[in-house]
Each structure stands twice: as structure tokens, then as C-alpha cells.
Symmetry: C2
Subunit: 405 residues, 2 copies
């Protein structure tokens, strides 16, 4: 009997009626002749309100106790989902991460899955039950409850699909799949049928927030294909899988855009070893997440170093860089927000030349100035003025032949 | 180092400030040179709202899933209590019932504790931590979460005190201890310093709702003395322990009253074997809890059978008895609410005569009519009109020398 793992996020759990709809869908999947494991998240908003509750007790709750608290969110929804299935005449068993044999390290609040001992789930499956597993959580080998961090329920689903040798893994969400571009920006964007892990990763790290990168990385590492699809209807979504023959025929799989970015430039950085390291170590120590980094060609012993980051990160930065610039004898620090990033992604770039040229050309035709460029093997990203981002996305989407007929 | 087990109920957990107060008290108890285990309940009202949530999914949730859901209530408060202790500079570890080694049978929603494997708690105690254990819950030997039913947190505390060979077990609550009578009814009621398990049981089953009977029975069975005391201040409360020399000197330990009772009388029940059984089997099958039963002396082949029960139970009864009466050829069924029960309790009754006479006499002096009488070895209960219950309690309290000087 085929085994299907289905993961439902917090919006699918937001209240009794939605939970009943999920129960119905899980039961229907079983009735179509499959063994079914459902992974569920906490009701949307619950994890955040538990964190707020903890902060009312102490501004800095310990990780172990925070995880003990947060794990109640999914424990609630697994029980309700199992009840809803039984109320429909089905057979269901809920399992916490610990009960489901999900063993993690002890990095509380962002634990990594070490191993899954799937026999408790398998026993219940053999007995004909739909098994409802709490996403986002596990336990250490000494039996302490852990959580897996943001996007952890996707990770649970993919890791369980692997451990159980599932035939299919569905990530059910509030979008219909992965699109060639955000349909709110490019109305002609179309759903991608199949995408390679690498492309999905580049899309995710470039602003397409369908899934957290770590879940995709995990799936890639263990080669677990999965499908992103809507929890609201039955249509197929986007299959994310390893690169296969024919996928390179498409040069650009999709375009992602990320607004609300800022650019920081430090001028006249002395061009000797350790200066760049000093800057980026300080930035990392301050836990600021930065994105594109560009260093000018050195000119007369100094260079300009620029990088981009989220505007909110910029606000957290304070005068950190001004202090570093003084320390290393650099020039001024320029900060500029109101910029955006546009990335074109496709494994076909590896074998097709001229992608960068085509992108730059179409932007030039639109009169859009490129401020920074960053490339990887399967991605070209450009930093442009935020005001131009919609126009740029439209132009690139058409130029690379992605418009829906 | 002495080991103290302290149990805090739901009202002590009702919000961050109260939890911080509990944390402070647990830490202070440790700082006085004790090893400390805290048992906490869910925040008051949470268990009921979880039950309501389940009922929105299905009117009849399965026990296993309901317990999975309900267990989140205490899992929340243990985490918050441990955080609050650490925020005060202490060291604390929270443990679910399962983690604390509390093994139960699989009678979900009212499981019985089978065994406690205390080594996980002991390890954390040896490491200097205050251990915060979730009350009301445990797990089966196959790892399914169970709950212990109403009053289950008291049971957890007493069972853990036994398994850990604790030196003291405190049940902290919103009253100052067990009183000779409800002080709202008898203002001169005084706190009882020491009471025997048997007396506590009779008080509990007669309306003094300080604790559920099953926790007291458990303590009696394993001879675990415990102290009922206030969570709001430091004063000693009431110690509940096995009968000891000198305790019989006091004839009446306390008086409990229970209002909101109803009386049912079935007249002319044929006086042959099986008729009474037929009535009470039907009542039990309908899960109605009845209290005092009285059968008249048989007269000309028929008898009258009366019993009391809570008025709410009476409302649930419907026409059950009318149907039974018809079936067994009895006469009419009379139902009367607005009655109350007054019980005088004391192990001294075993060795002192004249208690019943003194009670009846003082009630007679007040012009209070006794409708039914029920006695045990250490209790005399009378059923009277509810309107007279305050006066009756005052009279009896004075007659048995219980008034505070």
C-alpha cells in the first residue's frame, strides 16, 4: 500500500472547522488506498502567543523550558485532528514528536534531527490508523523535549517521509505551489510543475517564502522528493525533486524578488588582509544577516565594500560600522534603504550562455539602473531601486519566456 | 537534606504574577535547606476550556486524544514555573508526568497510577535543581499520555511524596487548612491542626471540598502524611495523617454541610428480593451518584425506599424511576429538592457514646426536623431542610465544643 505523508501548516489548523477539513482530507487520502501520516503545526499565532507568555515571566527564558512550552502548540492540534478523524468514522492516533521517535540534538529552540526510530508510527499504520504527528518537535536522547525552529514542521514531514520510505510527501500550504514569480507582482506568473532542489533553494533564499531553506536542504541531502500544494483544493502543486534529464532545457525556472532591502557601503577600506574580515566578523557577531556582498576593484591601496541586508536588520545595526570604519582607518559609511533584489534562477544556466546579458539588456530597455550584481552557478541577482522592482520583474518574466499563455 | 513536595493548584497558576509568586516560594523553601519538588496544576479554567475545544470538534472525543490534549495544560505551567525560578536566579527543571516516571494504567481521563520510577527526578534533585512536575498526568507502559481525573494533581503530589520518600508533602490551596466547619457558615469555626485520614475522608465525602477523596484514600493506603495549607501566606495548615494516640480524645473533629441536595422516595416497593437491586442498578447505569439511602421497616409486604442525591443529578434523572416503579409494581415516586446534609465526623465516636443523642437533642432544641439519618463508625449524618442548615451547623458546632475561644 502506498504511504503518503501530508503536512498541514498553522493556517490549516486555525480553528475547529479548518481542522475538520484537514481531517476529511486525510481520511479521503486513506480511503483512496494509501497509508497516511499527517504532520500538523500549531494553530497559527499560537507559537507566538506562547513566546509572549514566556516573556511575561522572563525576558530571557531558557531554551529547554521554552521548548517544553512551545511543544504544547502542536500537541493540541494533533489531538484535535485525531479526534476529528474519529468523529468522521476513521481511525487515528496522535503522536508527539517524542512518541514518534524523532530524536534530536539538544540545541533547544533550533534542534537538529539526529535520527528517527519509525517503528511506533509503523505499528499504528499497520493497525490501519492514520497517524497524526506533531510537527516542529522532537526529543533528545535523554528524553527532553526540543523544537526544530521556524519551518520545523516541514522538516518533520520530510524527515519522516525519508525514515518511513514514503511514496509521496505533500507540503500543504496556503499557496497553490511554487510560481515563476509572485503572481501579485507578475499576473502572468504560472505554477511550476517540477523544480529542482537547487532551484527551490535559490528561490527560497531570494525571497520566495514558500518554505524555509533548511527543509529543502534536508530534502536535497536525503533526496526526498516532495510536493508543495494547496490545502484548500485538490489540484496538483509543484514537485520539488532532484535534477533530472530535461530540466536543463528550461533556462530560467523562476524569478524571485525581495523588497525592503538596504545597502551599506564603506568607502576607502585599506586594501590589506584582515580589513574585510574585521567588518564581517563584527556584523556576524551582532547577528545581522547580510546578503549580497560586493567589493570594488582596488584602487590606490583602498577599496569600497558594499553589502545588502534587510531594512530591519539595518535598523538594528546602530553605529557598529562607523566604529569599525574608524578602527580600521576606512572612509565613510553610507547607508541607503529603498532598494530591492531581483533574482533569476534556473539550473539551465549552467549549460546556456547569455542569461546575464539578456537580463541586463531587458532592464536597460526599461531604463532600470543596476546597482549591484551577484551570481551563482544557477542564479543571477541584481540590486535595483525598489520603485522599479515590479516593472523589472515583468520585463524579465517576459524576456525569459515565462509568461502564461 | 530534607525533601519537601509542594503542590500548587490552578488558582496559584492563574497568570504570570501568581506563577512568579509560586516560584519565589519554591525557591525560598529550597534556600531554607531543602530539596524541593513542585507539582503544579494547569492554570485555572484551562482544563475546562480545552474540553470545550474538543467538544467543538466532536461531542464524544476518545479518551486517548482527550488526554493528549488536556496534558498540555500542565505542560504549559511547568515550563512557566521553571522559567520563573530561573529568572529569580534559581535552578529548575520541568518534567511532564511521563518524564517524571509516572506510569499509569490506560483508563484514559481517569487513569490510576501503577508505579513511579523516580530516578529522573532524583537525578535533577541531586544536581541541585528544583524539579517542577506536571500534576494530573502520567503515561502508560507503552508511552501513551494519560490523565488522572479531577483532583489528579493532589494524587500526583502524594504519590511522588511516597515514591521519593519525601519528608513533607504540602498541598497548597486557596484555604488555610481544614476547618471544624465552613467558616462562611459558622464564623467561630477554627482550623484543625491534625486530622486522621479517615476523618478527612468523611469530611470530603460530606461536602468539605478541600480535596478529592481518592487522593486522601491514596495517602491513607500508603500512609503518606500531608499538610493542607494556604498558598497565600506562610502559616501552618492542617496535617492529615494516620490515627495516633490522643486523637480519640476529641469526639467530634469537624462538621461538614452539603446543600443543594434532593430526596427521592419510592413508596410501596414490593418487599421481595431484587426490587431494591433493580432500582439501584438502573440508577448506577444512568451514572447518577447517590448518597444516603434509607429503607423503611417493611410493612404488610411493601416498603418505602428513599435516597438523596445532588439536585443537578436529580435533573438528569428524567422519568427513569417512574418507569422502574411501574415495572416492579411499586407505588409513587416523590421527588423533593431543597434539602441539605449535616455530618459530624470524628474517630473519637468509636470510643465515646452519646454523640447521636447529643446531635439529635441540639437539633431538636432548635426545632429542626430530621428527615433521614445515616451513620458510619466515625460519622453521623442527618438530612434536614436546607433552610435550617446554617442554624443546625451553628448549634452542632457549639454542642460539640468546637467553637473558637
Amino acid at each position: 500500500m502506498p504511504l503518503i505523508v501530508q503536512k498541514y501548516g498553522g493556517t490549516s489548523m486555525a480553528g475547529p472547522e479548518r481542522i475538520q477539513a484537514v481531517a476529511k482530507r486525510l481520511l479521503q487520502t486513506q480511503q483512496e488506498g494509501n497509508a497516511v501520516v499527517g504532520i500538523v503545526s500549531a494553530m497559527s499565532g499560537v507559537t507566538n502567543s506562547l513566546i509572549r507568555l514566556a516573556k511575561e515571566i522572563t525576558p530571557d527564558p531558557q531554551g529547554r523550558e521554552l521548548d517544553m512550552l512551545l511543544a504544547t502548540g502542536e500537541q493540541t492540534t494533533i489531538a484535535l485532528t485525531a479526534m476529528a478523524i474519529e468523529a468522521l468514522g476513521g481511525k487515528a492516533v496522535s503522536m508527539t514528536g517524542a512518541q514518534a521517535g524523532i530524536l534530536t540534538d539538544d540545541f533547544y529552540t533550533k534542534a537538529k534531527i539526529d535520527q528517527i526510530l519509525p517503528s511506533p508510527i509503523q505499528e499504528h499504520l499497520h493497525a490501519g490508523a492514520i497517524v497524526i504527528v506533531a510537527g516542529f518537535q522532537g526529543e533528545t536522547r535523554r528524553g527532553d523535549i526540543t523544537t526544530l525552529g521556524r519551518g520545523g514542521s516541514d522538516l518533520t514531514a520530510i524527515a519522516l517521509a525519508s525514515a518511513l520510505h514514503a511514496d509521496e510527501c505533500h507540503i500543504l500550504t496556503d499557496v497553490d505551489g511554487v510560481f515563476t514569480c509572485d503572481p501579485r507582482i507578475v499576473p502572468k506568473a504560472k505554477k511550476i510543475e517540477v523544480i529542482a532542489y537547487e532551484e527551490m533553494l535559490e528561490m527560497a533564499s531570494s525571497g520566495s517564502k514558500v518554505m524555509q531553506s533548511r527543509s529543502v536542504e534536508f530534502a536535497k541531502k536525503f533526496n526526498i522528493p516532495f510536493e508543495v500544494r494547496s490545502s484548500f483544493h485538490e489540484a496538483r502543486g509543484t514537485i520539488v525533486q532532484s535534477e533530472s534529464r530535461g530540466m536543463e532545457q528550461v533556462v530560467v525556472r523562476g524569478i524571485s524578488v525581495e523588497g525592503n532591502q538596504a545597502k551599506v557601503t564603506i568607502t576607502n577600506v585599506p586594501d590589506h588582509p584582515g580589513c574585510a574580515a574585521r567588518i564581517f566578523t563584527a556584523v556576524a557577531d551582532a547577528q545581522l544577516v547580510i546578503d549580497v556582498i560586493v567589493q570594488d576593484v582596488s584602487d590606490r591601496g583602498t577599496t569600497n565594500i558594499s553589502f545588502t541586508l534587510n531594512s530591519e536588520e539595518l535598523n538594528k545595526m546602530g553605529d557598529l560600522l562607523e566604529r569599525i570604519a574608524l578602527e580600521i582607518g576606512a572612509g565613510s559609511v553610507r547607508k541607503e534603504s529603498g532598494i530591492a533584489k531581483l533574482s533569476v534562477v534556473g539550473i539551465g544556466m549552467r549549460t546556456h550562455s547569455g542569461v546575464a546579458a539578456k537580463l541586463f539588456e531587458c532592464l536597460a530597455r526599461g531604463g532600470i539602473n543596476i546597482q549591484m550584481i551577484s551570481t551563482s552557478e544557477i542564479k543571477i541577482a541584481v540590486i535595483i531601486d525598489e520603485a522599479s522592482i515590479h516593472q523589472a520583474a515583468q520585463l524579465a518574466h517576459t524576456a525569459f519566456g515565462l509568461d502564461r499563455e
